[in-house]
Subunit: 228 residues, 4 copies
Amino acid sequence: MPSAYASSSAAAAPLRQRRKETRPQELLEAALRLFVEKGFAATRAEEVARAAGVSKGTLYLYYPSKEELFKAVVRQNLTSLIAEGLEVLAQFEGSSSDLLATLMNTWWDRVGNTPAAGIHKIVLSEVRNFPELAAFYTAEVIEPANRLFTSAVQRGVDSGEFRPMPLNAVAHTLMAPMIFLALHRHSFGACQPACGSADIDPLVLIHTHLDLALRGLQVRPSGARPAT
Amino acid sequence: MPSAYASSSAAAAPLRQRRKETRPQELLEAALRLFVEKGFAATRAEEVARAAGVSKGTLYLYYPSKEELFKAVVRQNLTSLIAEGLEVLAQFEGSSSDLLATLMNTWWDRVGNTPAAGIHKIVLSEVRNFPELAAFYTAEVIEPANRLFTSAVQRGVDSGEFRPMPLNAVAHTLMAPMIFLALHRHSFGACQPACGSADIDPLVLIHTHLDLALRGLQVRPSGARPAT
Amino acid sequence: MPSAYASSSAAAAPLRQRRKETRPQELLEAALRLFVEKGFAATRAEEVARAAGVSKGTLYLYYPSKEELFKAVVRQNLTSLIAEGLEVLAQFEGSSSDLLATLMNTWWDRVGNTPAAGIHKIVLSEVRNFPELAAFYTAEVIEPANRLFTSAVQRGVDSGEFRPMPLNAVAHTLMAPMIFLALHRHSFGACQPACGSADIDPLVLIHTHLDLALRGLQVRPSGARPAT
Amino acid sequence: MPSAYASSSAAAAPLRQRRKETRPQELLEAALRLFVEKGFAATRAEEVARAAGVSKGTLYLYYPSKEELFKAVVRQNLTSLIAEGLEVLAQFEGSSSDLLATLMNTWWDRVGNTPAAGIHKIVLSEVRNFPELAAFYTAEVIEPANRLFTSAVQRGVDSGEFRPMPLNAVAHTLMAPMIFLALHRHSFGACQPACGSADIDPLVLIHTHLDLALRGLQVRPSGARPAT
DNA sequence: CATGAATGAGACTTCATTCAT
DNA sequence: TATGAATGAAGTCTCATTCAT
């Protein structure tokens, strides 16, 4: 019965189709996790494929080489990283202290505390072997993040809320403790519990860091309290 | 022609020099440089040997495996690091603000600004593949450094100079910006000039960071100025 | 020219044949031959692979190490050996002298005169470097073979056909000349013709050995003649 | 004081001299033991040197290569092997049965039960990688031993004591059980106790073997008993 | 599209041999 | 003569990549 065959294959097609479209995503997720866990070189192509539920050959159907897969992982995770931050800044109304507090807490919730934070660790570890990624990552992640925090600080200075200080250095100082914590959680933190600084409570860290930094920034630190 | 012979033999470096005493040091130096540059996995054993001016086999005369070489690099560059800081703390006389400023500047001069700073980057990148290294590094580097800064802050709190705050979080916040800068200089910073946050002047960063942090810490931040 | 294409494609053997089913057997055969010829250590893994018509990597697809390949060779060539003899013993009807004669002739046909006899030579040569192989080979080959001959002699003693004698020593004495001949053929015998005791006709040896041994064993040696 | 120096160096010289002359012997002994234990390929040149109490370089002062050392080991141990047997045969007076019994017991005491028996195992294991040894060993050891036993049997046949039988096959049968036992003791026997046929008592074996073989050989086996 | 058997360049490591001391 | 540091060819094994099915 031709019609029966036709309808059955027609029914199956969408599933295949959907599969085909989600494959890259599944591969990138598996690759991200494994690259973060074991590093680029120590992760075998077949491991990634298996973790994504496909065979070795299929991986190469979507990415021509392990290196290209690596770059794709970085690129794909960058778009989300960037989108996160810019959203927040755009429509914020309130004091600049509250803005910084919101940025940090949001970053931690949406990036630092998710597997995506591992992306920074991989890039940090591997850029020297993938020079082309450097400019890319700098332009797409580091610079925007810098601008984000720089702008937030500038906003506070303009309004008279913050003391005037070297913006780049301040932005760096504001971001470093959180990113550094995320880095450590993806390296030392993965071993024994309480190994390294993994025993630091991220929320306490953010609160304390804001407490310190805002008091340091504010012209009149008296009443300022970070909003957690 | 005697003179010809003399000059030629003077020019020809001996192919097989016997230098058991200095070899380990030379190998460790070459290994440090290459591991920091390319990562552990991407550095071939023979490269290290050649960089140290010896053959592949000679490397294995001194270190039984590439992994042990790596551990030796870490160990050698750490022993001195730890001692430095503890000394400073022990004999310091002056305000705790000045103590923190001194610690940071010293760290930058002796570690952050030397190739040894690259060690932290390698360890961060590779530690998940070397579980035993994790415990070692945590015990020998991370914990002592934490204790060092924790003690310094505690000293300030005890003397009434600093506000009481969560010590671990404060210590982390104090160290992160500097170490993070060092990490970046060994990854993004090695590519194009002014790529990443490599364009931040370390001295400005330290000064600004201290300015912020001390003002945040101090009970009476009015007159406090970091000593650079 | 279609015919030209056809003939040329028929002549060109496919470079990458997929034959998962038959590969292990081919590899084991090649390994047996080479190990017997050159010894375990002197045979390179790649040689075995090439001899089986595959590449180095393919060998490791089927056997995780050269040592495991060696063990597989031993196992494969042994399982059948043991079964053979036990069967013969089980269903034999006739005098014990005839049983011994049959066992020896069978062993020579199925083992001594086949490449499998070389196995004993390899194991003998290499066993001190493979302690676990020693236990395996002893349990799977030496002990069963001893039991086989011991039982056959015991059978003759029980029926009054043979004199009572130390069974282990008799079994050893019965097997030694044949195995020893096989050993020599795989060592000295492989060099020049008529080198060593390779010039001994195995059939004459077996006949003579049986003639001697049975006459020695039998209570009434008068009429006994080995059946060749 | 020149005289003091002179006399002291004169006193030391003989020691050195003696040392120099015993070195080869010490090296050969160490090499024999290690080659028997681990095989030729698995024995490192440095091991041999250390076992002989000298450094790696010194070994090469006496033997130009590991292969030559191996050949020297074989050669040196052959001369003694051969001498042993020929002596015995020459001046024997008594029955041929007693002669065979004497030959076997002597061989076991002087060869089979000494480390020198290991020589046969090494040669057996390695001849195929050292073809030049084959002819040498055959001519110097195997053939003489064959002649020795062949002659003894011939002697018995000539005197009417033994039945006429194929001499080569009889000689092989007579020697095999003892040599085979020695081989096993140097391979399987070195592992766990009671591993392989190592649990056979050599004296029981020889006695039983002679009991069997002589009874098989003798025209009138009635009164014959091997003299142990 | 998907598979996984097959490939082979390349990495780590060993060790026979050399040679400066 | 004796040493042992140094060498580098060679071997085992891995794994990114290809391709017949």
